[in-house]
Amino acid sequence: MLEFFASDEFRTVVSALNTGCIRTLQLFFITLIGSLPLGLLICLGSMNRLAPLRFLQKKENPRWLNAVWGFRPISAICRLVVWIVRGTPLVLQLIALFYVPGMVGWFNWPGGTSSRMVAACVTFIINYACYFSEIYRGGIQGVPVGQQEAGQVLGMTKGQIFRHVTLLQMVKRIVPPVSNEVITLVKDTSLARVISLQEIIFMGESFLKSNMGYSGLVWPLFFTAVYYLVFSGLVTLFLNWVEKKLAYFR
């Protein structure tokens, strides 16, 4: 058994998986860095109360007409995007973003790994931002109204109330659901192989087909699980640490 870990076969496979792992890590971190703030933007957008036609509302109007004049465009657009993105499979979104522009003649993604990576990152960021935005919304709406009112009567501006009162309470509330999404993201990165991004599973599978003089190897594919387990283990430890850091208040 020990000889196997020293064999050329093992070393070749592991080094290939490591290359895939680096791509997986890149995709993971870039997605988080992009989607966490974008999610907040979408969240604030979907909660936006701007209704440019509200001045047309009148008490004597029928209820449906007042509902029409109360239309909130920013909120509606954000909710529409969230509906579409959450309502369709991520795999489909990857394929659409990578292949459709070329098919309808808008532009062609240049070949090579980097453009596949960019396409994957863009798709993942938009997809995860939509999920995060709903988690944020729940977090913000979960902070008691009294907290905002206390800020208001103390003469704080809306921005000050959000930054100094609501934000941290919201963050504390959303850590568990965000943890869920982040762990899911660890594994969802493997979907990027549908646009031939050579991440871990792609590399593992390649030895089943044929790669670097090996073919028909089944174990590399299952061995990728070790990477995901280690990775999600570290992520879990980190998120537990964050949760502990925020345990000083209730």
């Binding site: 008691p144 009294g146 907290q147 009112e149 206390a150 800020g151 208001q152 009567v153 103390l154 003469g155 704080m156 501006t157 000050q160 100094h164 009162v165 941290l168 309470q169 504390k172 000083y248 208040f249 209730r250």
Partner: protein, 261 residues
């Protein structure tokens, strides 16, 4: 001269009239208690004064300066509301302390944020913040919580939390301090410490409006009492007279229910 004049204040939610024709004056240094059963509009009245609700009608004057007139949109600008709110302090029934800040930080936060608007904030930042913190410590010491300044709200009892909330409201030196049933969310054995603090404020001639169900407290501490029912002021007058010898039948009925309890 009255520090606060409220004239013909109205508040409607759709077709429900929550406040109707509310008028009263409050002299500087006086305490006014508002009594009445649940749903009589007491809390809504306080919320209107703090602009947490927008009144549907009427006028509010502070020291003869009109800060709200339902018929004059120039008095209702969103940008000015923030500054106008600072005339009033508010102590909520459910405390509403900020859980992520210590007792001292709760007291100083708003003032520190306001200080950022001072023209000399950048040069004297350190001194200004130290002064604010020093004042915060003094406020906490005044209410007997000097030893608790680094405690977070969840580490304090309900009574202690409400006392911190009072200190927090006082830190901004409001012209009028409003209390919305400050002891209603407390266990009976904790109401005493909060009422003592409010009594102390009354002795120092703090101008206050107190919505309360503690009749004996209202009688002893307040100068004036307003009895509200169904969104109307039914009776108002000197505290002792309204509570011990009410003129209106409805006031008498309300008070007798308390006497039985």
């Amino acid at each position: 001269m009255a520090i606060l004049q409220v004239q013909n204040l109205e508040k409607h939610f759709d077709k429900t009239k929550v406040l109707q024709d509310i008028s009263f004056n409050l002299e500087a240094g006086q305490a006014m208690a508002i009594i009445g059963s649940s749903g009589s509009g007491k809390t809504t009245l306080l919320r209107c004064l703090n602009f947490l609700e927008k009144p549907s009608g009427g006028r509010i004057y502070i020291k003869d300066d009109c800060i709200f007139d339902a018929d004059d949109p120039t008095t209702q600008r969103e940008a000015d509301v923030r500054r106008k709110r600072l005339h009033f302090g508010m102590v909520f029934q459910s405390f509403n302390l900020f859980p992520q800040y210590t007792a001292l930080q709760n007291v100083t936060l708003a003032k520190e944020l306001l200080a950022k608007e001072y023209p000399d904030y950048k040069q004297n930042k350190k001194r200004i913040l130290e002064e604010i913190r020093e004042e915060g410590r003094k406020l906490l010491a005044d209410i007997g919580l000097a030893a608790r300044e680094d405690h977070y709200p969840h580490q304090l009892s309900g009574g202690q939390q409400q006392r911190v909330a009072i200190a927090r409201a006082l830190a901004l030196h409001p012209d009028i301090l409003c209390f919305d049933e400050p002891t209603s969310a407390l266990d009976p054995e904790l109401t005493g410490e909060v009422l003592r603090v409010i009594r102390g404020l009354a002795e120092q001639k703090t101008t206050m409006i107190i919505v309360t169900h503690e009749m004996a407290f209202a009688r002893d501490v307040a100068d004036q009492v307003i009895f509200m029912d169904g969104g109307l002021i039914v009776e108002q007058g000197p505290a002792r007279q309204v509570i011990e010898d009410p003129k209106e039948e409805r006031t008498r009925q309300f008070l007798s229910r308390y006497a039985e309890g």
